[in-house]
Amino acid sequence: MSASGIIGTFLGVRSPGTAYVLLHHYMGEIDGAFRAWGFARGGTGAISNAIADAAREAGAEIRTQAPIAKILIKNGRASGVVLANGDEIYADVVSSSVDPRLTYTRMIEPGNLPDDFLEGVNRYKFRGSSGKVNMALDGLPNFKCMPGAGAHLRGAMSISPSVEYMEKAYDEAKYGHWSSHPYIDMVIPTLTDTSLAPPGKHILSCFVQYAPYKLAPGLDWDTEKEKFGDNVVNTIAEYAPNIKDIILHRQVVTPLDLEREWGLSEGNIFQGELSLEQLFFLRPVAGWAQFRSPIKNLYMCGSATHPGGGIMGAPGRLAALEILKDGGA
């Protein structure tokens, strides 16, 4: 159970403050089942698609492949955005669901923000600590401890044999090495949703900790990437020896990949560490936790705002309420 307290956070199980991360993971309710990180048919992408449908139905418009290069600011007010292709779109309100580093240091021209606010943004800690390994399988893994294809495969399976195991995994990461004996959280979504893979084939999705974004001097993620992947497979093989024979394809996602391809600064899965000094009224920057920013009509609505990361939608909803309170513009 203590595994929940470290997910996505650069803390060991004994580190104080992990109780919040633990609580945080238990906060969500799915279909009334407390502490259910339920599976969505079609993967978590389906959740986003369903939310998108609901938003459209309520009158929102959504454009994809529309990367934003800059947020326009006029007389201290956000007035719209410039897309990467140069298109300008004007708006009364701009609300950013990306993290504060991207929002305030990449999308806003220097000179528009007070120094001490920027100091807070620069101080905001990301320090991603996890990676993912996704595998296409030609069958189901056979776990030594529970042989056969039982119901246990349908839930979340984790390799976290002891508190000491996890603490040691963390120790390596503190000094810039991925854990040689990592904590692994595995799910086989194809057992609940057969549409995700051809008949008889499966997907094994592994969340792996720790994989520190910042590696020790002399190491870099591009060279470590496949070694990291091999180690995950080897670790699983200790528990499910047939795994190596059934892998058809493997995708390794490092914290650096999360940053480069998914726009998550330093690969933090929650858009910033869920440590006490950046939670509640301190998230993301002390004094600016009310979803507002020093720039009028510019709001924050992503995981870098209270109450933080996870697929639960709370920051988005709370931000919308604040925006409406301000009169919507």
């Binding site: 580190s15 104080p16 000491e164 040691k168 503190k174 006490l276 000094e277």
Partner: protein
């Protein structure tokens, strides 16, 4: 059975003595009963080798709260502090030394040799700590408020502190709130680039705790210690005669106002009848009845050993069991035939630089690695070390030309994974000597004799349960309104007329006298009602 005494104080540690003083001043007739042959608890000076005396445990005060020093007229009772010019010498493995002078300007000049930027930040950091420390210091004076039904005094105290916090201005106010739960390593990195400087300051946040510099909450410990002492690395003050001189002066002050003190009087049991404390039973079998009992022993010892748990609710017993109280500090006292020659200091003239604190805390990760070992039940092979050589300031502590060295070592976990402290004691000593000799090669040849005090010894000989030097971990969840336990932070225990006054109560930040003085105020108020 003799006559009923007024107030019995279990234990003559510095907090027990401070409480005795203030209770006597308030018109009570306290009787202090100390199990050891002399008072002082963790603040004592003893001869450990013929002709060599040393602060057996704590070698530096918290520092003492100024109002307590004044009220008790400790100087009149013989206490004299010296503050060395050099505050801290922090050694690095490449043979350098970062020298922090007590004077901030001089310290900044020295830091400039490492980094100009850090030299500038040093006074900023000191100023911020000073401002914030002052506000926290005010909270340390308070009796923690009753959360469920605060009384007028509580509200007034909170209001005052709230106002002081707001008066800090937005920037420092957010600092107080943000820093508390942080890792000390992150906090110092916001100010400094130089590794030994970072680590030397962060070490204040791990001292005496089961935390590494990367542990969340270590910044809180740093801030708490800064409350009485805003000097970035912590000041050094040596009482002539060692730490025992502090408690000897306190005992004299308490006696002068009417307190009575008996040593060699170990209490075996605190008597409770119908939920009310009625007196004590000594190990000798002697019984002494009292109107009230105040315990200077730690909360676990008091409430799990001296009081029969039958008098407590199972819920309370469970909570006190979970009170975190296992120590990580060992103490080594050495008699030296000559001063050790530290390689880094040779060119600069060794002697004067050794008068302050000498620290082995060269980098954050060094400290963190030392901590890592203790998590798995091993003592650190490359430990965090804090050395003082008090005979430099007070030559009477050692024969002419010879010296005493007092060494804190961390981490030495109370619970070892393999073996026990009796079998590991010598190995611990060797690890410390080996570590120091990497910085001072002649060191082993100067050692005449040594005393190695493990966490087990702290418990068995000095009465610190779990070997915890602060009577319980200083942490967010065991602080202020939660020290020692939520609902029981006002020096009162669930047993009526039984109170706590030791370091396991608010503020509990070490050798300051704060807990004893706060407790006495609260106890006098309730006993008068």
């Amino acid at each position: 059975m003799s006559e009923t005494r007024d107030v019995i104080i279990v234990g003559g540690g510095h907090n027990g003595l401070v409480a005795a003083f203030y209770l006597a001043k308030a018109g009570f007739k306290p009787l202090v009963l100390e199990r050891r042959a002399h008072v002082g608890g963790a603040a004592i000076t003893e001869e450990f080798h013929p002709g060599f005396r040393c602060s057996t445990l704590a070698h530096n005060a918290g520092p003492l709260r100024a109002d307590i020093v004044r009220d008790m007229q400790l100087e009149k009772h013989g206490l004299k502090f010296t503050t060395p010019d050099v505050n801290t010498v922090s050694l690095t493995p490449d043979g350098r030394a970062l020298i922090l002078y007590s004077d901030t300007k001089k310290a900044a000049q020295e830091i400039a040799q490492w980094s100009q930027k850090d030299a500038a930040s040093y006074s900023d950091f000191g100023a911020a700590l000073g401002k914030i420390g002052k506000v926290i210091g005010e909270a340390l004076l308070l009796t923690p408020p009753n959360i469920d039904s605060p009384d007028r005094g509580d509200l007034w105290g909170m209001l005052k502190t709230g106002r002081s916090i707001r008066r800090l201005g937005k920037k420092d106010m957010y600092r107080v709130l943000r820093w508390g739960p942080m890792a000390a390593a992150d906090l110092v990195a916001e100010f400094f680039d130089t590794e030994p400087l970072r680590a030397t300051i962060a070490a204040r946040g791990i001292f005496g705790t089961f935390l590494g510099p990367w542990s969340a909450g270590s910044a809180l410990v740093l801030m708490l210690r800064a409350a009485g002492d805003p000097s970035p690395a912590g000041s050094v003050q040596f009482p002539a005669g060692g730490a025992g001189a502090i408690t000897q002066a306190m005992a004299a002050a308490a006696k002068q106002v009417g307190a009575e003190i008996r040593t060699g009087a170990e209490i075996a049991e605190i008597r409770v009848k119908d939920g009310v404390a009625t007196g004590v039973v000594l190990a000798s079998g002697e019984e002494i009845a009292a109107r009230a009992v105040v315990s200077n022993a730690d909360p676990k010892r008091t409430l799990m050993r001296l009081v029969d748990p039958a008098h407590l609710t199972p819920d309370f017993v469970q909570k006190i069991k979970n009170y975190r109280c296992t120590g990580t500090v060992a103490k080594i006292n050495l008699a030296l035939s000559a001063l050790p020659e530290f390689t880094a200091l040779n060119a600069k003239g060794n002697g004067n630089l050794l008068r302050g604190r000498i620290q082995i805390s060269p980098e954050i990760d060094y400290l963190e690695r030392a901590f890592d070992e203790s998590k798995y039940g091993n003592f650190s092979r490359s430990p965090y070390i804090e050395i003082t050589i008090p005979s430099l300031s007070d030559p009477s502590l050692a024969p002419a030309g010879e010296h005493v060295m007092s060494v804190y070592m961390q981490y030495a976990p109370y619970k070892l994974k393999d073996g026990n402290w009796d079998s590991q004691r010598e190995m611990l000593g060797e690890a410390v000597v080996k570590t120091i000799s990497q910085y001072a090669p002649n060191f082993p040849q100067t050692i005449l004799s040594g005393q190695i005090i493990t966490p087990k010894d702290l418990e068995e000989t000095y009465g610190l349960t779990g070997g915890h030097i602060f009577h319980g971990e200083l942490a967010l969840d065991q602080f202020f309104t939660m020290r020692p336990l939520l609902d029981w932070a006002r020096y009162q225990t669930p047993v009526e007329r039984l109170y706590l006054c030791g370091n396991g109560t608010h503020p509990g930040t070490g050798l300051t006298g704060g807990s004893g003085a706060n407790a006495a105020r609260e106890i006098a108020k309730t006993l008068r009602k």
